[in-house]
Structure formats: C-alpha cells, structure tokens
Assembly symmetry: C2
C-alpha cells in the first residue's frame, strides 16, 4: 500500500491536530476551507480557500487526491459520492455521512439495528407537535443543519410548541441522565477496530453545563463494558472507516443510551494527544490509510478543559493566565491559532495529566479560574 495523498474538507482545529499528527509519518495533506485564516492555513501542504459545501469546489479539490476525509460533517456529499465513483477513497464513507447529517436517519438507524437510544418520534413540521403532547417533556431536534447545541429545543408543555422547528425533525424523550459518557472508536478498511477508554463529561453542580472532561470515566466495569460494546458494535455494523465518536447517556437506572455520533475526531478526545499512547488524530490517519491501529491505553488519568472566548470580548485574542497554567505540572494548553476571539468561540483546549481523578478535577478547576481569552494584542503575562 502506498501512503496516500490526503485531502481534508475543513481547516479548523480538528484539521490542525490531524496535520500535527501527520508530521510523524510525513503524510502529504491539503485542506479546503472557506476561511483564509482558518487554523490549518499555515500548516497544510496546500491550503485551498473555498466552500466545502459546494459540489464543484469539493469535486475539484478531491479529484487529484488518493484519499479524502473530513473534519466537519456538513459537507457536499454528492461531490464525495462522485469522487468515490471515480476511484478516490473517501473515508468516512459518503453514505454514512449522509445518514449522520440527518438526525432522523441517524436515530432510525440506531432503532432498526437494535442500538439503545432515547425514544423518539419523527415530525414533519411545527404543527404536528400538537399530536405528541403525551410524549412531553421532549427535545425537538431539527433533522438537518443543527450544530453545537443549535437546532435543539426543549418542549416541556403545549406552550413551548411555538419554539419547535417548522421543518422535518424529531421529538426525543428527555432523559434524566446520571452521567454523559463518550467512547471514541476507530476502524480501518481491513476491519481492525480499537476503542479508547470511556470518558466522562463533568457538569457544573449549579449551572448544569459541561465543565470539563475526565478520562477514564468513573463508572462500574459493567457500565464500561456496555459503553465499549455499543461503540464497537456500532462502528462494526456501520462498517465506517476512520474514527467515530459515540456520545452516550448513562441513565439513573444504569442503562447506556446513544445520544449522538460524529464520524471524525471529536472534542471529547482532545486529551488523547498526551493522555493516550496513540491520539485520536493519529488513529484517524492510521485508520483511513489502512495502517495498523495504534495502542489506545493510558498510563495516567487525563482531563480536558475547553478554552472559550470570554463573554464581552470580541477582537484580536489575548490569553490571560496562560503562563500561570504552563507552570502547573501536567497542564498543557493547546491553542488553535484563531486570531479573533468571540464570546464562547472555541479558541483552544487544555489537556491535564495526573495520577488520580481528584488531581485532574483540582487542576481543571484552577485552569477554569485562571485562563481567559479576552480581546487585545496577543500577549502572555509575565
């Protein structure tokens, strides 16, 4: 097998970390992104400015590649299918991207193939919600186009129906969950499958927002086995090539339900860069290039805190507290090279390593308190 010439649709932070991992084996990788200042623009072998949603742009970008992959799933799939027909390897496979792009198809796939997931009903428009008052409280989710919390509305009562989407979507039973878990799993074309240890999102006790991630999750070995089996069986059933992130709920009754999946390296796996023997980024490259998958074991506990643009600041990013964080043993900031900060924009993340869960939680709390992204000149305090 020749090492393939790769094209990535998208040039954001996930692409950036793929490019960093690609240096080890000297993969030649081009990126396509509409933003000329995207995270990958100085690192890609060739950085092409253009829309990954446009058929012709994607087709032209892909046709001289051996292999095309993605770092964002909202791309032009018709073009990927055309490239696939013409002999370009496209991983993850376009028909799987089509299914994942549409939450209605995704949920129906889980149900038809016996994968546990919250109960749901398909809806065609807002008015139809009136027929499902027996199903409330439920989340109304837009079938296509939702992203990062957008396209989801809680419908608790009839009064909330006006918040629902007047487009094809689904109503999903609200789950009273104990924990939110994630498993990242990879598969190569030979069918080799390897998964990373299950991780856990830690919520703020009052605000009920994800605060940080800890690996491994604090769960019984029985729950760990359940979560691992779901992820491994799912990637095997899908026959997906690449990395698949499986987000799950652990219910108060000890059930593990699939929430959503992403066919690419994922926010819940950033800490694998230092925390695990092989990172999710290296694993994705190994998988799509049909190389043996790497060891996913970890010697230490790890954690991950997102670095978000602080509220009230918009403009050239200024990192406050970076030097203080660098001085803490086992605390490793990673910045995405975005010049402009906006409230809640993902500007980077911090990986935390330690010898106990408590150590991770303590360091995560310090990082959350110290590290801020404000606006001003790029500056590290002395």
């Amino acid at each position: 097998m020749a090492l393939p010439k790769i094209g990535i649709l998208g040039g954001g932070q996930l692409g950036r970390m793929l490019l960093q991992a690609a240096i080890d084996l000297d993969f030649e990788i081009d990126c396509l992104d509409p933003d000329p200042t995207a995270s990958c623009h100085t690192l890609a072998n060739k950085f092409v400015v253009g829309s990954f949603k446009d058929f012709e742009t994607v087709y032209q970008f892909g046709k001289d590649k051996d292999l095309v992959t993605i770092e964002i799933e909202h791309v032009n799939i018709d073009a990927l299918e055309q490239l696939e027909k013409e002999g370009v390897n496209v991983f993850p496979q376009p028909h799987l991207l089509r299914m994942i792009q549409d939450k209605r198809l995704q949920k129906t796939f889980f149900k038809e193939n016996g994968f546990p997931t919250a109960d749901f009903r398909l809806t065609e428009n807002q008015a139809e919600l009136m027929n499902h008052t027996d199903f409330f409280p439920a989340f109304h989710k837009l079938g296509k186009g939702g992203y990062d919390g957008k396209g989801v509305q809680l419908i608790a009562h009839t009064d909330d129906i006006s918040k629902g989407f007047d487009a094809p979507g689904l109503l999903e039973k609200a789950i009273d969950f104990e924990k939110e878990l994630a498993v990242i799993v990879a598969r190569n074309p030979k069918g080799e499958i390897k998964s990373f240890p299950t991780v856990e999102m830690v919520f703020h006790p009052i605000q009920n927002l994800v605060e940080f991630l800890v690996s491994p999750a604090e769960i019984s070995s029985k729950i760990e086995e359940k979560a691992q089996k779901i992820a491994i069986d799912l990637i095997a059933k899908m026959e997906l090539v690449g990395v698949l992130a499986v987000e799950m709920f652990l219910t108060k009754e000890g059930e593990v339900l699939i929430n959503e999946i992403a066919p690419r390296p994922h926010n819940s796996g950033h800490q694998t860069i230092r925390g695990n023997a092989t990172s999710q980024y290296e694993q994705h490259l190994r998988a799509i290039a049909n190389l043996p998958l790497g060891d996913t074991s970890a010697e230490l506990f790890s954690g991950m805190v997102n670095i978000l643009g602080s509220e009230g600041f918009e403009g050239p990013a200024k990192y406050i507290g970076l030097e203080e964080c660098l001085a803490i043993e086992g605390v490793y900031p990673f910045l995405y090279g975005k010049k402009i900060t906006k409230p809640f924009r993902k500007m980077g993340h911090v990986t935390i390593l330690g010898h106990s869960r408590e150590d991770i939680v303590n360091k995560a709390n310090v990082v959350k308190e110290k590290l801020k992204v404000e606006s001003g000149k790029w500056k590290v305090e002395n």
Copy 2:
C-alpha cells in the same frame, strides 16, 4: 511577556520537531536553510532558502524576529552577535555557540571550570603530534568543523600520526568506557533549570556501534546523581538559555566524564516526544520564550532507534517494513520528510515505549531487523 516571533537557523529534522511542538502554543516560526526541500519547508510559517553560514543572509533573516534560535550550531555567529546588539533575543547565546563550535575552547572551558572530562592536549598542526607520543592512544580531534563522527581520528601509534589533522585541534586520551550516557537539560532566562532522566546508548556487542538508546539508563542512583549534577551545574555555569545535550562517558572506574555538548535539541532526546511528559522540543521553546519549563518525568521505559539509509541505495526513499513496525504496540516511527535516501543518511527515527528495559531492547531489535530505507517509490508494503 509577548509570545515571540521566532526564526530558526536550519530547517532539518530538529527544526521539524520544533515546528511540530510549536503548534500547541501557536508560535509563529520561520526557518532558514540552504536546501529548498529541507524537512521544514512545508511546515514553517515562512521558509527562507539561504545559507545560515552567511553573515548577510542570517542578519536579514533575523532582524525582523523577536527571537532567533538554531537547530544546527555551525552558523554565522558574527551575524547573531550583531542581531543581539540590535536587541533581538538570540538563544542559545552567540558567545556560547562560539565556544561550543570550537572543541578546543569547549574542552578548555570544562577544565577551567572543574567539569570532569577526558585529559587532553591542544595541538596546532599534524607535526606537533610527534611531541605527544607519551599520550597515545588518543583521539585527534579537529577544533572546528567536525560533525557526526567526521574530524576525529584514533592515533594509537606513531604510525597513525599521518592520519592526524594539520590544523588546530586537540589530542584526547582514549577512554575505556563502560557506558555512553546523555542528559538533556534546559534553562530559561529566569534561571529555572530542568533536566530529563539520564539515557544510555546501547552498543552492538560485536560491531561496537551505537545500536539504539534506552531511557532511563541502567546505572546506580549514585551515577545517576553524578550525571544529573554535571549537566545541571554546567548549564547553570554557562548561563545557557535553551536546551543543552550533555554526552558523557561512564568509565569502568565509575567516573562520569563529559564527552561533548550540543546547545540544542539532540538525537539522544527524540524519544522524549512520547516518552516524557514534555518533549525536548517543547522544552526548548518554553526555555527560549521564557515560559515555565515543563515536567520531564516518564511513566514508561522508552527507546529510540535511528532510521538510516541502507547501504547500497541512493535515490527516492522507499521504507521497507514500516507497516510491520506500526503493528507492534508501543512502536512509533517518525519520518523526517527527506525525499532522497543515501547510505547512513538519517531519514527518521523510531520511538519505542514499554514497561521494562527488556521490552524496549526486544522491540528495538525487531525494528532494527525489519525497518529499512531503500530506493524506489515511497511505498508502504501491504
């Protein structure tokens, strides 16, 4: 402290690994190298083709930078001194590069400051060697310009004198050493110092050539303390900013003697990329940017095997056995992106991780047997 705009003199593999590490904190780094296809050419923010030995080229390259560093020490020092005078930070400092470039000054520095090193005598030309027959067997070393084993001749008898250099050099007593050790140590402008665990070169029992490296070295805690103290005291005495590699001999009598030093990331520290919490590359960047130094601890044993061009092949590199190596747990090849192989050219290295020294040695032997660089099209076997 503002994060500095950095220029690196040299664009080879050490530069490549610095650039890879620099992605985490989004350092902006340009490289200068005479070879337009050098390892860094696709990764640097700006890759400038030109000689790092030429005053004007180095001066022009450096004058718009906040900070200039090196990945090779044979550079134009006059230009670096001029830049330093004009307010550019140059780390390691030019006067230290001048001292290290000349083995005569280097050895004299060790001696005058009480650092243990093999006995030596300065020589001005070949004829002078006749005055030192009482000192044989000894190595005759060229003062300036020696590199990677060049510029060194063993003078065992009067008959060998004709092999000596007819230029300023030194005669160094041949040491009957037990082991060859190395310590990589870093210092930032604030004076903070951190060292990596002592590593050991493992020699082939018959050929007496370095076969691979193992970390940590198999030495008593007393010897470990000696080696660490020498490296830490040396960088403190020199007040060097950046990473310093200290190569040492452990004699059969239990003495630790400095062999040579290199003021930059070094071949004996490649395995720190995965083997240690912070790599020598990240540490160099932290040191020169006056950031807190990172944790150097290791959770596992590690090893490093150089990937050299096989004898008898010259031309486009073809890697044999790469896929087999990737299939071994804890074996991580790293290629330098050099398109052309030549006999014994450093084309990459392999980092090995494991739970015991024996595990490292076994895997290193497999890698040495399987992985070859021959000439032909870039190809991974299936």
